[in-house]
Symmetry: C2
Subunit: 307 residues, 2 copies
């Protein structure tokens, strides 16, 4: 029941209206691993780092059941670095610096020991890389989920279209769904995108929650109303990790179980934004996660008797 998580392990420097960090640990696969390892182990990580990625961080991940055989360490280059500044609404941000470093050469090789994994989470990367990972799997995983972003729609649309044909679930945010489909209405966008390959589409709307589409069905998961969103970095990847962690734990890929998985992903994401980087994700306990999930139940639970 293992889960492969492909994505970046990196450094971020973040400015928000509440504060500013120097280089802290980030990367999509990092957030996915911290979130998913609450539910399922091992997580089989596929990534690339430079000489500067801390040994200590690697050990923290190993302790949580994250296998690192698929993480390439490049001895003479630095890790991927991103720096950004969030606006007051925390839904929009400006990129200040993108230093690809090791990511420029990323050409992931799936270790033999990862073969047979039932679940595959493809973090946001060049679509050709995501495709290469799918093609390296000797047995197709039960569920392949991918994230992407507007950047690839602009510079690699043909490759993105090819990769979309190979995945089960696409996760994007609302503006990416609109760009990918050319439709403003998210309902119309979803119909269009599901014609491109994915049988399921998750549209993330940040503080406004998330939508899950499948055929003619739709499910909505709210975001928890928070007093402060301290740092949204990694919230989407944490959501993905919580989602995949629950799916891999239960081995149930039905629409009904995906609903539950989205609530769990939303709960994990609500922790992520409480502190800079993955700090909060490293602290939380099972009891805290369960209590947070119960808050989601209370948040949307109502009683209707149609008479």
């Amino acid at each position: 029941m293992s889960l492969i998580a492909v994505g970046t392990m990196a450094f971020d420097a973040i400015e928000t209206p509440f504060g500013k960090t120097d280089r802290i640990i980030g990367g999509s696969a990092t957030y996915v691993a911290y979130a998913a390892s609450n539910f399922v182990q091992p997580i089989q990580q596929v990534s690339i780092v430079g000489y500067d990625f801390p040994e200590e961080e690697m050990n923290d991940l190993k302790k949580r059941g994250v296998e690192l055989e698929g993480v390439e360490v490049v001895k003479d280059k630095k890790s991927f670095f991103w720096s950004g500044r969030y606006h007051l609404d925390m839904n929009s941000r400006d990129t200040l610096v993108t230093d690809l470093n090791v990511l420029a050469d990323f050409n992931p090789v799936i270790p033999e020991s990862y073969q047979g994994a039932e679940f595959l989470m493809l973090g946001n990367l060049a679509p050709a890389i995501q495709k290469s990972v799918i093609q390296q799997m000797k047995t197709r995983p039960k569920l392949v989920v991918m994230d992407t972003m507007n950047f690839w729609m602009e510079i690699a649309m043909p490759e993105l279209e090819e990769t979309l044909k190979l995945v089960d679930v696409l996760m994007v945010n609302d503006s990416e769904a609109r760009q990918l489909s050319g439709q403003f209405s998210l309902v119309k966008a979803a119909k269009q995108i599901m014609k491109m390959g994915p049988k399921y589409l998750i549209i993330k709307k940040g503080e406004h929650g998330a939508l899950l589409f499948h055929e003619n069905e739709v499910f909505f998961a709210p975001a928890l109303p928070l007093e402060d969103v301290f740092d949204p970095t990694g919230a989407g990847d944490t959501f993905a990790g919580g989602f995949m962690g629950h799916i891999a734990k239960t081995k149930d890929i039905s629409f009904e179980n995906m609903k539950t998985a989205i609530i769990i992903g939303s709960a994990l994401a609500s922790f992520c934004v409480e502190k800079f980087g993955p700090t909060r994700l490293k602290e939380i306990t099972k009891e805290q996660i369960d209590a947070r999930i119960q808050q989601f139940v209370d948040l949307v639970n109502f009683d209707i008797k149609l008479v």
Copy 2:
């Protein structure tokens, strides 16, 4: 178990990305009455119209159990007229024309026959007018709900603050909640506003749903994801009408029942936006309303077993 609805009965001219109307029927009390009369009758209307307001429209309302004794007809003036243009996202709009006409002299008098009403819905009007209506009630209603807007925060804040002390539930949209409280976080805004008088606060977020706050509790109702939002005019008042209609029908002002009322309000609002003005509200049947409410149940219903 009657419900008093105070507000405008007016003409609107609307431009949206989908089309354009000439003068059509509008006004907050009109939408409240069309929505609430699905659940409770009579609705006791308090408003003011000019010589140009159609007799036919008055008759349509009467047929739905709307009492018009509290609607003043001014023989030598025109009805209130508003014209606006919506942007593509349908969450923002520009006002093109505001002709107050009869509304400049609106000084509502509650008819003797309305005394004893248990529920009072105060549509968006000058806070001093809203206050005067509350003070005219010889027995305080069980629940007083008011709507307001940023305009009054800018030009009549002291009167607004006085009126807020007299109501149970305030309904505003997210930007109004932020302006009224001076807080960006809606959770913080809600805490601040509930110190100003209302024990309950409903924050309407348009396509992103609505939040209900009370003490330390919060409930979230989604908006139904729609293929097209044709015309959002009146959606907020329709929401209020559905909410109040359910509360007045059930006579239950508990937090639990308010959750249900918000779902019903959201369902009615989802019809409102499907056609220009109140057109769709006049057509819908009980079966269609029940089916729509069931869609809300399906939209948010999920199964969590914490193990």
